[in-house]
């Protein structure tokens, strides 16, 4: 909200503080001042007197004026405004005056004629343009004839105001009322608050009837005032409204806006003479189209709260009045409405009709002090009498309403027990008094009555917050919780995730974080772990982010695409994230690599990302997790696979379950995501991190030497080498402790369709030194087995 310091000063004295001091004070009690600005700007603005005006010799619209600017000084000023004339009192910007946005007044020549200043319009003073009248923008502003020449023009006009931009918290909507804000300042500064008199005037009996037929309207008040005259509001009222960000219209509308500004109570006015029956029925159940006072047609639904007049829609409660009953320039007799409506219902109406008006916000946010309704009506009537020449004022017609008195009991030890402070009961009493909370004290127990405008107070914690606010949050000491020891630790899964993250990063991969929400056109790509439908948003911002992803690979491909577009060719990335489908949550890890993994060009050292690099990453992860090779198999993907290259990809299987995948992306997918040569792996961590694993157990370091023998086997080229190695190890009866494949060869000297595989076998027996005879026999046995199982034979 925008708060005028000059207006605030009407209710509580603040003009002996700087605006910054007041802002700091307000911020310290929870009303954060987000900005401070002058209502009008310009430092060298004075009241001037136009002594003489002659046409500019070289222009058909400019005039050369001799303007007295104080102390007998007369300045020559060239002025282009059509309404400038000799004998006027005007606002003069003297040379050096800064009107903001780089507009600085200088001594200058305009078409050859010297000009030492500028005669200003209101629109040139830096006031928000939407608050101004057309005439404020059309020409220079003419001041009253008695304006003192040479005096500060802004001060003379009351424009020397400062506006605080306050970010009110949702629980303190009551402070939208200047009086409530004044109470806050008064409590903090220990100063009195001056609330305008709102007492009953000399009143006549009213013929208005009010009939509330819904419990969505706890209170409805109507007051008839006759004989008003519509005209422009006095300057002081116009200025206060503008300083508060409200555009002045005419005295009647301005009064209703001013009363809301002052009290937080929205005011609506009906033209008494347009009503056939002088009866207001508040109810729901209308279902029709209606034209409201902005001239537009709206659809009213049965749940909307309506103030009905003459069986029709007199007003959409708290939102906007009907067109038929609205006041206009010819209105003389007015019915003023001040009421309380159900905020949540009203919010739905206002939102649906796209009419979140200032008034409706007061209801929605709960700013209404229902107990004050009668006084607000009186205040309106008094202002109408004062500023609109109202002739007859009638008694208010108010429904019976009950304001429940809120009583909260509190002890001093409870206050200090929650805040960690040592505040005395007396100090609590002082704070309660400053906030106008009444209370009775018994020992250290306080029984507190909450003021009616504090809708936010419901329990002792609320009052403790009030005490803390006024005591000062900066006075609260600082300590650490004194309590039983608790065990602080990551869960095993959390530790594994962290270990993997650091492992992959240490292996040279970059961790990325990408969006969970993706497009339906990608959500099923690369998905292996989810078997249910995607989680779809009811109201997404766009199709592109409308469902939650199932695989992380599409996101990584997009990141690779982004990097390639920015000249980053070598991209090695991974992400660990939860993925969702209907009723399933899985933690995924995905790796995607493209380009050069390791490269020292001058040494001709390079390793390009390929299937085996990705497989190496996965094997390293598995080794770190203690998942032995014997627990999983790598199964080639189906030949008709659409996501992964069928000849270069495999599923990681545990039993019949796919727990991961390693492979090159399918050329079609590469095309879709506009990437090239990308190798990926994705793992289902929800399965892998919850596997049972044996504890680390030390085995004796063998004392006898090992022996290494190389063999080269020729076999059909489609035989998976891994299967052959497995057979060899099995045939080796636990004496083979290591195998290294050191060459795969196809070509000359090898029959076509065959390959030669060279393997180094390391033999070791923990109980004795192996002799040649034993090893030779074992190799014989191995050769027999591979011959039988794979048709492989020793290369000669």
């Amino acid at each position: 909200m925008e708060a005028s310091l000059k207006l605030l000063n009407q209710y509580v004295k603040v003009d002996d503080f700087s605006s910054q001091e007041i802002a700091d004070q307000l911020t310290s009690i929870g009303h954060e001042v987000e900005g401070i600005h002058a209502f009008a700007r310009g430092d060298k603005l004075v009241v001037g007197y136009v002594k003489e005006k002659v046409p500019h010799p070289d222009s058909d619209h400019l005039n050369v004026c001799q303007v007295e600017v104080g102390n007998g000084v007369v300045q020559q000023i060239v002025c282009g405004a059509p309404n400038v004339d000799a004998g006027q009192k005007v606002i003069v910007a003297l040379p050096g005056c800064d009107l903001g946005e780089g507009f600085k007044i200088k001594e200058a020549k305009i078409r050859g004629v010297e000009s030492n200043g500028m005669i200003c319009s209101i629109a040139e003073l830096g006031i928000d343009q939407r608050l101004l009248r057309e005439e404020d923008k059309a020409g220079i502003h003419v001041l009253d004839a008695d304006a003192p020449v040479g005096e500060d023009a802004l001060k003379y006009m009351g424009y020397d105001d400062t506006i605080l931009d306050i970010g009110l918290t949702p629980n303190r909507a009551d402070c939208m009322a200047m009086i409530a804000l004044a109470y806050e300042v008064g409590a903090l500064l220990k100063r009195d608050v001056h609330v305008p008199e709102m007492k009953t005037l000399n009143e006549l009996d009213s013929d208005i009837e009010v009939d509330v037929q819904t419990d969505l309207c706890p209170c409805f008040g109507a007051k008839l005032v006759k004989g008003v005259q519509t005209k422009e509001s006095p300057e002081w009222l116009r200025t206060y409204l503008m300083a508060s960000g409200i555009k002045p219209i005419n005295n009647i509308v301005d009064i209703s806006n001013f009363v809301m500004l002052e009290t937080g109570q929205p005011i609506h006015m009906y033209d008494y003479d347009k009503l056939k029956e002088k009866r207001f029925v508040i109810k729901t159940g209308f279902h029709q189209k209606t034209v409201l006072l902005d001239g537009k047609e709206y659809d009213i639904l049965p749940e909307d709260i309506i103030v009905s007049t003459d069986q029709g829609i007199g007003c959409v409660a708290g939102v906007m009045g009907g067109d038929d009953t609205k006041i206009d320039d010819n209105t003389v007799n007015i019915v003023i409405e001040a009421a309380t409506f159900h905020g949540a219902t009203l919010r739905n109406t206002a939102r649906r009709l796209n009419l979140l008006t200032d008034a409706s916000q007061h209801y929605i946010k709960g700013a209404i002090d229902t107990a004050n309704t009668a006084r607000v009506l009186n205040r309106c009537a008094a202002l109408l009498e004062e500023l609109a020449d109202a002739k007859e004022i009638y008694k208010s017609v108010l429904t019976d309403y009950e304001v429940k008195e809120k009583v909260i009991t509190l002890t001093t030890s409870r206050v200090n027990g929650l805040l960690g402070t040592n505040i005395s009961t007396e100090m609590i009493e002082d704070i309660l008094t400053s906030l106008h909370f009444s209370y009775t004290r018994e020992g250290e127990t306080l029984t507190i009555k909450v003021p009616t405008y504090r809708n936010d107070m419901t329990m002792d914690a609320d009052v403790i917050e009030e005490i803390a606010r006024m005591y000062g949050y900066n006075h609260i000491p600082s300590s650490l919780p004194l309590m039983e020891m608790t065990k602080g630790a990551l869960t095993p899964v959390q530790s594994y995730v962290r270990m993997m993250r650091h492992l992959l990063t240490d292996l040279g991969l970059h961790e990325v974080m990408t969006y969970t929400l993706t497009s339906p056109s990608m959500v099923d790509d690369f998905n292996l772990f989810h078997h249910q439908d995607a989680v779809a948003l009811m109201l997404p911002i766009g199709e592109e982010r409308s469902v939650t992803r199932k695989s992380l690979i599409p996101s990584l491909l997009q990141a690779i695409n982004f990097n390639r577009a920015h000249a980053q060719k070598d991209v090695m990335i991974y992400e660990i994230s939860h993925t969702y489908s209907k009723e399933t949550e899985i933690q995924n890890l995905a790796i995607a690599c493209s380009g050069m993994y390791h490269h020292v060009p001058w040494q001709q050292l390079q390793q390009k990302a390929d299937f085996y690099l990705l497989k190496g990453f996965v094997e390293t992860i598995f080794e770190k997790l203690g998942i032995k090779e014997s627990r999983y198999t790598l199964k080639p993907v189906e030949a008709n696979q659409q996501d992964f290259h069928p000849g270069r990809s495999g599923y990681i299987m545990m039993g019949n379950e796919i727990v991961g995948v390693i492979g090159e992306i399918h050329p079609q997918r590469a095309k879709k995501y506009d990437v090239k040569d990308v190798y990926v792996a994705e793992l289902n961590l929800s399965v892998l991190l919850n596997l049972k694993k044996p504890a680390i157990k030390f085995t004796e370091i063998p004392q006898y030497p090992s022996v290494t023998r190389d063999i080269a086997l020729v076999m059909d080229k489609d035989i998976p080498v891994h299967d052959v190695v497995r057979s060899i190890c099995k045939a080796g009866q636990r004496l083979i402790v290591d195998t290294q494949i050191f060459d795969i060869y196809e070509g000359e000297h090898i029959a076509s369709g065959q390959k030669s595989v060279a393997i180094a076998l390391t033999f070791q027996d923990a109980s004795k030194t192996l002799d040649d005879a034993t090893i030779n026999a074992m190799i014989e046995q191995i050769l027999k087995v591979v011959e039988k199982d794979y048709g492989a034979h020793l290369r000669v």
Binding site: S28, I29, G30, E32, T169, P170, G343, A344, R351, G417, L418, L419, G420, M459, A461, E465, A468, R469, Y473, N474, I476, P477, S478, S479, L480, P481, M483, E484, T486, G488, A489, L490, Q494, T505, L507, G508, H510, E511, V512, M513, Y515, L517, V535, L537, M538, L539, I541, R545, T548, S555, A559, Q568, I573, H578, Y580, E585, Y597, V600, W602, L605
Partner: protein, 344 residues
């Protein structure tokens, strides 16, 4: 005798002139071997008298000794020269780049998350995560945001159906933890994770972001404890000189609620553009757990009380590293990630 001395002089001169270890070895074999001149000279001994033989033997031994010693000395010199030559030959350009292995990076939001986890785990907190696809009940109702609360308007939340949504904050994890504790304290937990709001993405808004919730519940937890805990956080993340300032604020799930500022680390509180001349930077929201939340989550609010805080990880990272576009976190841009290669 003269012959021996002649041999000696000739040998010493040749050893002196010798320039390689091989040549030196040849000289050794020649002079001290069985077929060398010394051996020939010895043959004349059989014709000598006993006295002559004794003195001849003496001289010959001495000559042998001298030659052996000269060879040993020369060998040392030659070996050293050879090693120096080898070293000279093996010289490389140490200014060429090393065969550095690739270095990956941890995402800056993860760095912040891990720093927080370490800080709080060290103080006895556990880490809870909770689902990102959450129910309305946990995300809002249990956080004291009933159905008609303005803060839960449709435009702010990604709803999946009437009762399911993408969590808008990590606060619902509080409720999961409290309900699992069955009304029995103490609870000390932090809840880091991803959160979502229905915002259009721009430099300062992201529909996906990260938070870290903190929750401590026991019988005597005070707002002073909250302040002390957050001071530790501020010092850990932004340096030992940081101070914090609490300002009253409002969150439905805490009462009293506070907004927490840290003294500006850029100007040490003097006022600069980073802190908008105030000397303070808004960093997080916190407060004492609202008794209504305690009750709804199975705790007796007459017995238990506690504090909660919510840290925006992007905000911390943006302040700490001077990042000004929130979208950088989610682009996977290596030019961004590579700046976080070192340990902070």
């Amino acid at each position: 005798m003269d012959e021996l001395l002649k041999i000696k002089e000739e040998a010493l001169s040749k050893i002196h002139d010798c320039s390689s270890l091989k040549e030196l070895n040849d000289l050794r074999v020649f002079y001290l071997g069985k077929k060398g001149p010394m051996q020939s000279a010895m043959k004349s001994m059989k014709d000598m008298s006993k006295e002559e033989r004794a003195s001849f033997g003496q001289v010959s031994n001495k000559v042998k000794q001298e030659i052996t010693q000269a060879i040993e000395e020369k060998k040392k010199i030659l070996e050293e020269a050879e090693m120096l030559a080898k070293i000279q030959n093996e010289k490389i350009d140490i200014s060429l780049p090393g065969s550095q292995l690739p270095l990956g990076t941890i995402h800056p939001l993860t760095m912040i998350r891990e720093e927080l986890e370490d800080l709080f785990v060290g103080m006895g907190y556990s880490v809870a995560e909770g689902p990102e696809v959450e129910t309305d009940h946990f995300n809002f109702e249990l956080m004291n945001l009933p159905k008609d609360h303005p803060a839960r308007d449709m435009q702010d939340t990604f709803y999946i159906d009437e009762n399911t949504l993408l969590r808008t904050h990590t606060s619902p994890v509080q409720a999961h933890v409290m309900l699992a504790a069955n009304g029995k304290g103490p609870i000390k937990v932090i809840c880091p994770g991803k959160t979502y709001r229905r915002d259009d993405d721009d430099a300062t808004h992201s529909h996906q972001f990260s938070q870290c919730e903190g929750l401590v519940i026991d019988k005597n937890i005070t707002m002073a404890d909250l302040k002390g805990t957050l001071e530790l956080f501020a010092k850990k993340m932004f340096g030992e000189k940081r101070e914090i300032r609490l300002r009253p604020s409002y969150f439905p799930f805490t009462e009293p609620s506070v907004e927490v500022d840290i003294s500006c680390y850029n100007c040490n509180g003097k006022g600069c553009s980073m802190c908008k001349q105030t000397g303070w930077i808004e960093i997080l929201g916190a407060g004492m757990v609202n008794p209504k939340v305690l009750e709804m989550c199975g705790f007796d609010s007459q017995v238990y009380q506690g504090f909660a805080f919510g840290i925006g990880l992007e905000r911390v990272a943006m302040l700490k590293y001077g990042i000004d576009n929130i979208r950088d976190f989610y682009s996977g841009d290596l030019r961004f990630l590579n700046q976080f290669v070192r340990k902070d």
